[in-house]
Symmetry: C2
């Protein structure tokens, strides 16, 4: 049975994944537990089910692959990458990931451009909605054309950050 | 005591309030009540507390003011408006609305440009998150520069549409 391809993202209420300078200092809750759900978003538990982590070259260059030393890491890059600890892929990315997902679960770590490119093969989204309006910034998706209908799977909340998990709706 | 200035909006998961043609055909739930909350978004109840409805000229020209015949309706317009049933205002919009809100509660009906312009005086937001990624469309805010920090007030859900209500956080 095919395994899932998943992604996680934090967005502002107006749909930005980073401020206009790429910054993330705005990602925090409102400090108020009044709406907290019993079930909380648990990244460790999420990662337990993941076999392969996919990231873009920028994330790799920032050393983020080191956070996943117990997983297989795939770096999407058009440039040469001389590092035996990761697998570099250049082209046919969606078809290669779909093939891998036949036996392994995949976490599309990011950044946003990668998530945007792979939107059509992502099975599950966990989106944390941060209680802030940024007004401007880098949007979650900004070059695609097709819609993706979703089914809401679960609502979690911790100190004003609402985490919504969705599965792609099969048409 | 000052009354509240409120707005309601439906947005896609990626933060659009309309598709690229201004269309709203995508605003529907996923048909699954599994995550429904006991308390549901109730527009009738919301309107009971509202004294004044504010809309842009486009909404007026589409006849939307007729839906609020039991309320005072303010139309924001730079053009002449010959209609005794509504109040037209042209300038100093924020300060005039703030003055009115000293005694009356205000609903910023829309459209998006009006909400965006009045962001700094809006006290409460009710945002319905529709289970769809549009990929592109008209963003909720697209010309502002300042951030607005929010406190999450309530989470409601009905058939996959998650309604989050927020109050502006006083710094």
């Amino acid at each position: 049975m095919k395994k899932k391809i998943k992604c996680t993202l934090a967005i502002s209420l107006d749909g930005y994944i980073a401020d206009e300078y790429g910054g993330y200092d705005w990602i925090s809750g409102d400090g108020n537990p009044v709406n907290d759900t019993k079930s909380k978003w648990d990244f460790q538990a999420f990662m337990q089910d993941i076999d392969v982590v996919v990231m873009g070259r920028n994330c790799y260059d920032l050393g983020m692959h080191k956070d996943f030393s117990d997983k297989e890491v795939i770096v999407i890059t058009s440039r040469e990458l001389d590092d035996d600890s990761v697998i570099a892929i250049k082209e046919d990315i969606s078809s290669k990931l779909l093939e891998i997902s036949e036996t392994k679960s995949i976490y599309i770590f990011g950044g946003g451009v990668i998530v945007s490119q792979l939107k059509d093969i992502i099975d599950e989204y966990a989106i944390g909605i941060v209680p802030i309006i940024l007004g401007k910034g880098i949007p979650l998706f900004h070059q695609d054309e097709n819609r993706v209908k979703l089914n809401l799977k679960e609502i979690m909340c911790e100190e004003g950050i609402v985490v919504l998990t969705y599965a792609r709706k099969e048409e």
